[in-house]
Each structure stands twice: as C-alpha cells, then as structure tokens.
C-alpha cells in the first residue's frame, strides 16, 4: 500500500484546489464521476481547466455549475440521446470558456505519452483539418520528418493533468481498481496525472481482486484517494451494476435549455440534497434504483 486512502466524497472533493487542471474518466453514458462533479459544484470550485476525452456529461455538468474556465477536448456531445451538450455549447458560444479542440485519438495519444513519461506523441490524424489550423490558446503541434524513414508525422505535446478523477466499479481497500467493460481512456488519464482520485461502487476483499486480476486496470500504486459510494455514476451507467437513467438524462437535458430551468435543476439535484443518498431519493429513490439495477446476465 503506497499512498492509498479512503476518504468521503466531501473530503476528496475538498482536496481539489481551484484552478486545477483535471481530467475525468468516463465516456458517453458510461462511468462518469457524476457524484464527484455534483460535490465539486456544491463546494464552489472555480477556474478549473478540463483536459477531456469523452466525459461529456461530467464536463457539461461541471461547466453548468460554473466551475470551468478552460477546456481542451475531443468531444462533448450527448450522442443519440439529445445531441448537443447545451451547457458546454452555450458556454463556448457566449465566450465564457476557452476551448481547444482535438480528435479522440490525438488527445488519447497526448495522455498516453504523458503516461509513458515522454514529452510528445506522434500521430497521423489531424492533417489537412482545421484542428491544426484554428488554434487559439496553446501550441498544439509540430510536424517532423522521421529521422529513420523520412515520413512526416504530426507531433503533439504530451498531457499531464494535475488530477485525474476516475469512476470505476470496484476496488479493494488498498485501492486496486477494477473496471468492467471497455477501459476507454481511464488507464492513460490516471497514469498521466500527478494525482488520482477514484470513486468506486463497492470495496471487495483483496482475495476477490486476486482471483480476477485481469479486471484490475489500476494497481493501487497509481491511486491516491479512494471514495466508496454506490450509484455514484448516476445518471450514467456502471456496467455490471446499473444502467443509465434515460429519464433523468432527459430531465437534465431539458433543464439545460434555459438559465431558469437550469438553476432549478441545480437547486433540486446539486445544492438541495443533504448528501448522496438524499440525491438518490430525489431522482426516484428505491423504486428507481431497483429499476436501474443491472440484469446479472446482461450487465445492464
């Protein structure tokens, strides 16, 4: 056991300073650290910089909570559910946040380089596109001919966020983190970051981890802080544990249409609840939670 320790959601969120550069795990409707984002908003975090791959829902909520100043991202959309992520889009359209675009692979490559301790990544994407043309805030790339073959590649600076906030299914008390389902960019995000906060559904005995070691994505040596909270990805899914809550996602996306309805949403679901279980009560309580439970065979 290196630095791992179990903290409450509140304590873990309190350890995130204003102006931090953070990256959050999750992708689409899967494994986003939603409870942590709600707590960060409650604690009034300011001027956060996001370094994002696909954590659209967590990112959109954090932006809607007024915590974000700058976003480097590859995609913030709600896909087939409602399309645009309105808090994000409005913030950009109104010039309230600084934005820098990448493709998924180029951003994941930057994190991969960061995780490997290299200064840059080489990719073959981006060529000919405005992703290389319209650059506002940071030096994004360099072209270089391979000293071996002479082939030209695009070089991107590696990414090393200050804090990675990772949502996963389970861990042992030492912080060996297991993920079920695709691993998306969790491993690269965690290993590239200086500090890792992981939120899991449950703590299992070490022997359980030892009998399923191939599901361990992050050994405890990469995990600094562990938070244990059931249904903490809600309204997103946690494969093998619960499905996403489409009903609440529509509540969310409808609320994000106007400032008035959005303020009401924050009051009801972010500022209002006395704790995470009160939040679960407000989104439908026991009935809803039982409805979202995963089918043990399907995993959702």
């Amino acid at each position: 056991m290196l630095n791992s320790r179990i903290l409450s959601l509140e304590e873990a969120a309190a350890s995130i300073p204003d102006k931090s550069v953070i990256t959050m795990g999750g992708f689409g409707v899967f494994l986003q650290p939603m409870a942590m984002v709600r707590e960060m908003i409650r604690q009034g975090k300011k001027d956060i910089s996001l370094l994002s791959v696909g954590e659209a829902y967590a990112g959109d909520l954090l932006i809607g909570g007024g915590c974000v100043k700058r976003i480097a991202l590859s995609s913030f959309g709600f896909e087939a559910v409602t399309g645009r992520a309105r808090n994000f889009c409005k913030a950009v359209e109104q010039g309230k946040v600084e934005v820098e675009d990448y493709s998924h692979f180029s951003m994941a490559s930057r994190l991969m380089a960061g995780a490997m301790g290299l200064p840059f990544a080489a990719v073959n994407s981006l060529r000919g596109s405005d992703l290389l043309e319209k650059i506002v805030y940071e030096k994004k790339f360099e072209k270089m001919k391979s000293p071996f073959s002479g082939e030209e590649v695009i070089l991107l600076p590696s990414a090393n966020p200050e804090i990675a906030i990772i949502q996963a299914q389970r861990a042992d008390s030492e912080g060996n983190i297991q993920v079920f389902g695709p691993t998306i960019s969790i491993e690269q995000q965690a290993k590239a970051s200086k500090r890792v906060i992981a939120i899991v559904e449950e703590i299992v005995p070490r022997s359980t981890i030892q009998s399923t070691p191939s599901a361990t994505l992050l050994p405890s040596l990469f995990v600094d802080t562990l938070v244990v909270l059931p249904y903490s990805a809600h309204p997103m899914s946690s494969y093998g544990y619960y499905d996403y809550d489409l009903e609440h996602i529509y509540t969310y996306t409808n609320a994000s249409k106007t400032p008035e309805t959005w303020k009401k949403y924050l009051d009801e679901y972010v500022y209002g609840p006395s704790d995470h279980f009160d939040y679960l009560k407000r989104i439908g309580g026991l009935r809803k939670i039982m409805k979202l439970r995963a089918d043990p065979l399907l995993g959702y």
């Binding site: 389970r170 679960l280 026991l286 039982m290 089918d295 043990p296 399907l298």
Partner: protein, 294 residues
Amino acid sequence: MQSKLVSVQDATKTIQSGSKLTIGGNTIRRHPLALVREIIRQGIKDLTLYVWVAGIDVDMLVGAGCVRRVEAAYVGMGPLGLASNVRRAIQEGRIEYEDFSESSMLARLRAAGMGLPFLPTKVLMGTSLADHASHAKPIICPFTGEQLYAVSAAKADVAIMHGYYGDQYGNIQWPLLRDSDDIDTVIAKSADRVIVSVEQIINPQAVLTNSTMTYIPHNWVSAVVETPFGAHPGSCDGIYDPDMKHLEIYSEAAKSDLTFKKYLDEYVFGSAEEFDYLEKAAGLAQLLSLRVNR
C-alpha cells in the same frame, strides 16, 4: 413460452383462505416475505403450512393470525433464537402443530412431488415424534419384514418461494455463488401451483444461453413476481445479508401479541406496497449496505 409476470397483489389473490401452503427458504434466509406480507394484508386465513426448516415466514403468518396448522421440522430465527409468535401460539394452544425431522418432512414433500401417497422412512423409530404424528404410521416392509414408518405426502395447494433471478416466463436461476441450505426444488415440485417471487426479472434471451443455472423451469411455475429485497429482513444468498437491525425490531415486537400487532400495523398494513415497506423498514442507504460484495 407465455409470460407469467404478475403483481404481488395478483399473485397472492389466487390463494384461498383454508388453503394448504408450502414455503421455500430456510430460517431467516430467502423466504418469500413480500408475498407473506401481502397474504397478511389480504387477510387470507386458516392456512395449513407444510414447511421444512422454516423461520420468520411462518412466524409472521402465525403472528398475523393467518394460520390454523403447521407441520414442520423447525421454526426458528437462526442467530436470533426462537420464533416467538409460533412459540406463544403453540403454548397457548392457538394453532395445531405437528413435528417432523428434516429427512421425514423432506420425504413427505418428496412423496407429494412424486405423486405418491406416502414414503417409507427409518428415522422416526422410537421418537416421541412418531407417537404424536398423525402423518406417520408404522409399517412392515413387504420384502424384508423390517419395521419402518410411512409418512404421508404433504401435498400443498400452493407453493410460494423467493428465487434469485427469473425471466418473465418463470425460468428461475441461481446466481454464480450461492449457499444451498434449502429444498426449494422439492418444494416447487410438491404443490399444485407455484408462485415465485424473484429479486429481479432478467432477460429471457440471456437465460437461453445460461440454462444450467435454471433450477426451476418455467413449466413448473404458475406466476412470477418481481420483488426487489423480497426476502427482507431475511437474506438472499450471495445478493444481500440479513438486516439484523430490522430483525431485532421484529424479534422484540414478536414477544407479545400487543407489540406484534403494532409491528404489523406499522410495517405491513401501514405500507400500501412493498416499496413503501422497504422505505419504512430500512431505507435505501441501509438496503444498499446489506448487498454482498461480489
């Protein structure tokens, strides 16, 4: 396959007062308590219970005055000791009670499942059980001439039990890891009709490729009901532990008729449906904390 998925209310409505009932589970484990609570709410009376190693299920039904007669190998609350309602009812002569041992009660349920009037057993020889049991008679083996007891078939009108997972057609499945201290398959075979409540209704397409886990097939089942935490405050092997906090409340209440009536008013009659009961008796945070780490 035809869907047999119904509500708790509709499932229990089919049980007549005066029925013979058999119940799955063991002590405080995996009894169909959501169904039991609804039986109490519906005021079904005069039941005869054929049970094996029973517990809170029988105690609750007896305490609510639903029961005329019990035939069992055990009624107790496991780590919490005696089943107080049953004990009081027997001591005060309010119910008829007939004792069997585990294997002789099993033989009676098996006989029912096999369509036989009785099965022979060696176990009751010399015990006081045999002296008092109207459903055990000495016989001589026609082949060897040895002395045996015949125990009569315990054929129930309805079996109620709590399964782990099941699809809408009534294919009831085990989880990967389970304990096995029950005779639910025997109980399912012994009755005319089988009502199964399950923790969760699962996808039938996935069941087709996971069929070795099905322990009660759909064609044995007449109704299936989804009751999350349906064995609460008891446990459901591998899914959640017993709720000791609520079991203590129950055990305390069961110590007198007056306090148990208050318990029933508060938790059973006072809850229009099972979700209300669960909110009142435990609440979401407590229920989630009972889940067994996988």
